[in-house]
Amino acid sequence: MKPSVLRFLAVLPLLLLAACGDDGAGGKRRIAVIPKGTTHEFWKSIHAGANKAGAELGVEIIWKGPQKEDDRDDQIKVVEDFISRGVDGIVVAPLDDKALAPPLSDAVREGIPVVICDSGVEWDGHVSFVATDNYRGGVLAAERLGTLLGGNGKVVMLRYQEGSASTMAREAGFLATVTGKFPGIDVVSSNQYGGATTESSYKRGEALLTAFPGVEGIFCPNESTTFGMLRALQDAGRAGKVRFVGFDSSEKLMQALGSGELDGLVLQNPFLMGELSVRVLVDHLEGRSVERRIDTGARVATRENMDEPDVKALLAPDLSAWLK
């Protein structure tokens, strides 16, 4: 028993040391950036943006997501461990608007400033809140769809999920604009929820298309509802015939935009979100005053403008320069 135990014990520290890499970064400031998960494209863009700011400002960026994707408790653990570690600042995209408040208060009590990015939290101890103005994103979508329809027609909005603050703001912005600015447009359905997955949105989309055969315009407030609805339209042979505006981007949605099955995609700027979150935190650490709310903007990608460099950078960002 003994030799094998010892062998195992001997290997363990090597493994850990190897994994640690170049952690001892001298006198550099260390800023922890905590996303909701680590595998989605959106978070990779935020990571790249944070790395860019880190490299330009000479601060070390420590990127660490919850061990389990989208697990509230795991994200709390990550925040707690960064408090123990004594980093100089924390940037966090909270998985929950309530559950993250207590550990973030702990951070501030321990003298660690916090910048909130992407999603809000019911807590006012933050230095700044850096996120898309989602209501404005919904307004942009409504303007695009309303113009395409010439201000007339039957419109369906497939909602995402109850309790999701960012998409609810997009839905509110869309509804207010489409009914306020385009009196000729009739919103025939706006009370259906696509749910968390593409599959559930697909089914809900099919049901809506069956229930409202005369629909001329559709809006979906995020990637999964947009893609689910796109699949339903394709299945029904109506893709390209119905005016369709979605939110966020992916490989498949880009193709659909190019082929005319989608008429617009409202795009956020996660790269800028990551970059500005770090910049604003460093500004605060260096004693400069900062804005409490920073909007990182949204714009509509269309078939016409999708090859312009700045739209392309949002549709399919090249992150390789900032992610090793």
């Binding site: 061990q67 990550v78 321990e110």
Partner: protein, 328 residues
Amino acid sequence: MMAAAKQTAGEARRGRRARRVLALLGPFLGLLLVVGLFSLLAPESFLSAYNFKTVATQTVIVGLGAVGMTFVIVSGGIDLSVGSVIALASVVTALLLRDGRAPVLAVLAGVCTAGLCGLVNGLLITRLRIVPFIVTLGMLGMARGFAKYLAGEQKIDAPAYWLADLMTKSPQPGWLLVAPGVWGMFLLALFMGLVLRATVLGTHAFAIGSNEDTARLCGVPVAQNKVVIYALCGLFAGLAGVMQFGRLTVGDPTTAIGKELDIIAAVVIGGGSLAGGEGSILGAMIGAFLMSFLANGCNLTGVPNYVQEIIIGAIIVAAVAVDRLRHR
């Protein structure tokens, strides 16, 4: 002749005690090693009172679950439903709090719901003679689905009252040092450790786990004991669920997914054998803390998540491998 028999009996007892100590030696050394290693790698942050408080609080949920799970594993069973039951208990507690019920009542309801899940597990296993793996796998789905149904497929915001204080790192009064939930876990672990070592229930659990047929022939009420053991495991999952609510301050039906595997790992790292008949509460506690310190240390030193997962996986296999060698 008599003297010889008495002597061998004494030797056997001494041997058993020696083996028990030896069984705890491995995990304990592992724990010391992990703590020692990270103390060297990150002396300032890892070796602080604040960090130890943090780790202790982070261990409560797995620790409480592991207390109940130890009984199940000692008796030769397994309970895969614990993670889902934790979520269900946290949802039930949150629902009652949202409806304005007294916190005590909400906690009681959460814990009892979880206990009921355990009871159902035990009854299905003994009455229908289905292996625990399948019954609790079924309960894993049912409890999770039921939690989502009750919560309307979203998290429940509820006033947390003193439940949030159970898991706070700055407890009142200050002489408590660690969160009340941590004390609760230690006291319950101590108590259940005694139950496992020194009561009829504990002895029966070991007897059933060692050899169920022999135990039955010796007059041990196997079915009855199993029902009690699974219900107990459910109750502890319920307590863990209440702590989970205290920590999140929202009732989250998607919380603790996969937590049952962490809990089983804690028991196994602590010397529990999935073949039954072996395991201890102290060992399970050591196992739970070992995993917590490892995760915490990895976060403090900047080890990426995937390395952490690989290491924990390796430790589980290594712990069982060491256990095998000890048996040879």
